[in-house]
């Protein structure tokens, strides 16, 4: 067992003191001299022609400085599909479409001005159901696109699914659906744009992708006719990310456009209602799955197809099938796999990345169906999973190379505790579900890299400039620990800068649970360069050979005794002839692969695994589900900071429980019906679940000190684990998230023979019990 002084320790977050004392600054807290306040007018209709936008009255309001409509801005297209202008002209395609923007002296005036803008619309037939949107007679959301189906051919077939189906002894065929849920970052979205007199642009913004945002903002400057100017992205403390900040949004570009026109800094800060209405939720899915196994329970095939409601524009939500492919092809050993997904334009809100990036939707279907298949085969559900578990050395049909893999250990850890030491009772049941996720970066772009620069001063204090982004998960703390361990200093000797593109090197962004692995390796590499130089210098200074020197606790040790304090060596490094500065940089880009045309490719340098177990009580009279116990086992490679790791798991689990049971963005005809915390059922402290995290350390050979990513996995298998437990408890299978008490009760009634549960409010028809 290696001995570490910092790695593996429960170290407090490096920014925690500032956050506990109210000193940490969020976008809410920033004010620049002369700053104006921007506000956005959104569409009244889910689909309508814009006949006229009359801004005369608004312009006349004292304190209004700039008003922009879709006609006033150059062509700018946002998003991965470049289909989303920051202000719409011609027509609106969803209720969150931006129609006009105002900059004024204070937020109240801006609000008043927005109310004074008169827009004349001509309503158009709209489409809200993605399966309906596939039909030839469906209204087109983007006429020039000619079809509502996005030209993203998510389509793979490895092996021969049809042959395997004939061979299978047991089969299941099911349909599962999931709906919109949203990130609910406690700090709302906001940005400040400031254009100087030479047209250099500074944007203060909540982003998980400072380097890519810089490029997006550069594009907007270019559209304004400005080339070759500096774009600086400053990232304040962020009040939660969870994937919501993986793209740039219209509001950021509108802040830039308004600032450009006003020649003054402009801040746009979302109110909570706006946060619900105008940020992008998790992608809803309709999933058809069939799966079969042989008599021994070995999976033979998995066949899945999905329809995804893309909404009116395209952000990362549309690309979640690229990640869904991972569990679909590679969660458990399954030789024959087919998957197709269609992303479909509708007049609903458009979707975005959210913790797990499609994996929770796919895993809900897969792990629910696994339980059903195990039952059909009359094999114990735990045993069934053991039989099919991934193992180190596997290469999956998609070409994922499984290196370290603690899935068998995770299944064991959960199964051992699955009854939680409690006797079986009526209405109480247990369930489990597993996950695979990228744990060593994910090559979405040509680069999956991250840069680090390290500077060490005369006193052994270290400045680390990383491309990584912290949104609260503790990226800066983990990087500080890695550097401290390598340089033999304490965490408090280290300052991690991650807030400013003028200072920090490039990085592809805080997504795919990649930061600990990629930014960690990047920092480790830079620290190692300095360490080697320090050892050489120390050896020269002391006459002790390098391999006999140990650097720890701010000193060099030989044979267990300190012989040279680190600061002393550092000072001598540039107070001697031909002195040197202790600085190093490193760019780390993991050895993972872009997907090929057949979607094969080892997208991550390593994979994280986990299994969750849950014990629930179902009230058969009300359909309410209560979580009694929860256990979450994760193969994380190595826990760099067990306290922060537990925090990721606890937070992920409760987010997963919300996904499973209570949360949904309710859209009726494209309109958000619950844009507040009263009706969006984010779970409270009273609902908190004391989950028990179990850490399996497989010490990955590629990971920094063996670590793999853990940001997302906590919320991936929660919903199917709970759905499986409900089935175990009362024998009803819920295939549609969230699993509300209504759905459970209706299913129980149906099981008991009831036909109708009442009249459906929307269809005015008898509502079947399902």
């Amino acid at each position: 067992m290696e001995e570490f002084t910092v790695i593996g320790k429960r170290i407090s977050k490096v920014d925690a003191v500032d956050k506990a004392t109210g000193r940490a600054l969020y976008i809410q807290d920033f004010k620049l001299p002369g700053m104006l306040y921007g506000r956005i007018l959104y569409s009244k209709y889910p689909h309508a022609r814009i006949i006229k936008v009359d801004t005369e009255k608004a312009k006349a309001l004292p304190g209004v400085v700039t008003i922009l409509t879709g006609e006033d801005i150059p062509p700018i297209r946002l998003g991965v599909y470049k289909d989303n202008p920051p202000l719409k002209s011609g027509k609106v395609r969803s209720c969150r479409d931006e129609v006009a923007a105002v900059a004024a002296l204070d937020p109240e005036i801006a609000k008043e001005a927005i109310d004074l803008i008169e827009v004349t619309y001509e309503a158009l037939p709209a489409i809200f159901d993605p399966e309906e949107a596939l039909k030839p007679e469906a209204p087109l959301v983007h006429e020039d696109h000619k079809t509502n189906v996005l030209k993203m051919p998510w389509n793979l077939h490895y092996g021969d699914v049809e042959a395997a189906r004939l061979e299978a002894a047991f089969n299941v065929q099911e349909r599962f659906t999931t709906t919109w849920v949203t990130h609910c970052c406690m700090g709302t979205s906001g940005a400040i744009a400031d254009v100087d007199n030479s047209n250099n642009l500074t944007v203060y913004t909540n982003t998980q992708i400072p380097s890519l945002a810089q490029k997006d903002f550069q594009e907007t400057l270019k559209a304004l006719g400005v080339k070759d100017r500096r774009v600086r992205v400053i990232k304040p403390s962020i009040g939660g990310g969870f994937g919501s900040k993986l793209d740039t949004y219209a509001y950021e570009h509108l802040a830039i456009l308004l600032a450009w026109h006003a020649r003054r800094p402009v801040k746009i800060l979302f109110e909570r209602e706006e946060e619900f209405l105008a940020t992008s939720p998790r992608q809803p899915t309709v999933t058809y799955i069939s799966m079969g196994c042989d008599r021994e329970g070995k999976l033979l095939y998995r066949d899945m197809s999905m329809v995804l409601d893309n909404g009116a524009y395209t952000s990362w939500g549309a690309t979640t099938p690229s990640v869904m492919m991972m569990p679909i092809t590679s969660l458990y050993r399954v030789p024959n796999v087919r998957y197709t997904a269609k992303c479909v334009y509708t007049n609903n809100t458009y979707c975005q990345a959210m913790r797990g990036y499609g994996n929770p939707q796919a895993t809900f279907a897969i792990e629910s169906a696994i339980d059903m298949l195990a039952e059909a085969a009359d094999i114990d559900r735990v045993e069934f999973r053991r039989i099919n578990s991934n193992r180190p050395g596997d290469v999956t049909p998609q070409g994922l190379r499984i290196t370290s893999c603690g899935l068998p250990e995770c299944i064991d850890a959960v199964s051992k505790n699955l009854d939680f030491g409690q006797p079986r009772e009526k209405g109480i049941g247990t369930g489990l579900a597993s996950l695979i996720h990228v744990g060593g970066g994910a090559r979405i772009y040509k680069s999956d890299g991250c840069g680090t620069m390290i500077k060490m001063d005369d006193y052994g204090k270290v400045d680390v400039f990383t491309g990584a982004s912290d949104m609260g998960q503790g990226a800066d703390t983990v990087i500080a620990q890695i550097v401290a361990e390598e340089l033999g200093v304490k965490v408090e000797d280290i300052h991690v800068f991650h807030q400013d593109t003028d200072i920090c090197p490039w990085d592809v962004g805080a997504h795919a649970s990649r930061t600990t692995f990629v930014a960690g390796n990047s920092a480790l590499g830079a620290a190692r360069k300095i360490r080697l130089r320090l050892l050489a210098m120390a050896s020269k200074a002391t006459g002790v050979s390098e391999d006999k020197l140990v650097l720890k606790d701010r000193a060099f040790f030989a044979e267990g005794s300190p012989i040279l304090p680190l600061p002393k060596l550092l000072r001598s490094s540039h107070f001697t002839p031909k002195g040197q500065m202790m600085m190093a940089d490193n760019f780390y880009d993991p050895e993972n692969e872009n997907m090929g045309r057949d979607f094969r490719g080892n997208m991550s340098a390593t994979y994280s695994f986990g299994t969750h177990g849950v014990r629930v009580k179902v009230d058969e009279a009300t359909g309410k589900v209560e979580i009694l116990d929860y256990i979450a086992a994760h193969d994380v490679g190595r826990a760099i900071n067990p306290m922060l790791l537990d925090g990721q798991v606890h937070g992920g689990v409760l987010m997963g429980v919300g996904y499973a049971l209570t949360e949904q963005v309710i859209l009726e005809n494209g309109r958000n019906m619950n844009p507040d915390f009263r009706d969006y059922k984010l779970l409270t402290a009273m609902d908190a679940i004391h989950s028990k995290p179990i850490v399996i350390e497989t010490v990955d050979e590629k990971g920094p000190f063996g670590a793999k990513g853990i940001g997302e996995p906590g919320c991936v298998p929660t919903a199917p684990a709970i759905a499986n437990a409900i089935y175990d408890a009362v024998g009803v299978r819920i295939r549609d998230l969230p699993i509300t008490p209504e759905k459970v009760l209706a299913a129980i009634k149906k099981k008991k023979g009831a036909v109708s549960c009442g009249i459906d409010v929307f269809t005015q028809k008898e509502q079947p019990c399902e």
Binding site: D15, C185, F242, Q473, A685, A688
Partner: protein, 170 residues
């Protein structure tokens, strides 16, 4: 309409002219520069703006600034001791993983303070109930609850030490 009010803010008397429609949150953040108190929803549903008024936790986003006249207000900026040493709750949140993105933290800590001032030995349910109005998306609340429990346990331990040292028993 403006009006002059006097109150104690983080231990210091203050006298300021305010507009009658201001909320306490607006007064704190926009006029007094105390941005440690956060606005998460503006309608009393998230608790990020929690401050203590005469020891009671309230949502400052819904509290009339004029009603602070004559009262004692504590915000997160006033919680540490004058020499800067942290309040036990602040320390505990830091050391026990009670903080992730930190946006809910000032409100969380102040709700916890109000609870412990009223009930020095709360049960887990008491703690959960006291925090029910402080939403958090990052932590799942587990380490927040543990942070508060650690303060309670420490206090009980300290009391026991005193009892042992002085030989008291009851």
């Amino acid at each position: 309409m403006s009006r002059e009010i006097k109150f104690i803010l983080n231990g210091n008397p203050i006298c300021i002219a305010i507009e009658e429609h201001w909320t306490l949150l607006y007064l704190l953040r926009e006029k007094l520069g105390l941005t440690g108190t956060k606005e998460g929803c503006g309608r009393g549903e998230c608790g990020a703006c929690t401050v203590l008024v005469d020891g009671l936790a309230i949502n400052s986003c819904l509290y009339f600034a004029v009603e602070t006249d004559g009262k004692n207000i504590l915000t997160i900026e006033g919680l540490a001791a004058e020499d800067g040493s942290l309040h036990p709750l602040q320390k505990s949140f830091i050391e026990n993983g009670g903080i992730q993105c930190g946006f809910c933290t000032p409100g969380m800590i102040l709700s916890a303070k109000a609870l412990l001032d009223e009930n020095p030995r709360p049960t887990e349910t008491d703690i959960k109930q006291a925090l029910a109005g402080n939403l958090c998306r990052c932590t799942g609340y587990v380490q927040i609850i543990e942070s508060i429990e650690a303060v309670v346990d420490k206090r009980i331990e300290d009391i026991n030490v005193v009892v042992r040292e002085t030989g008291d028993s009851d």
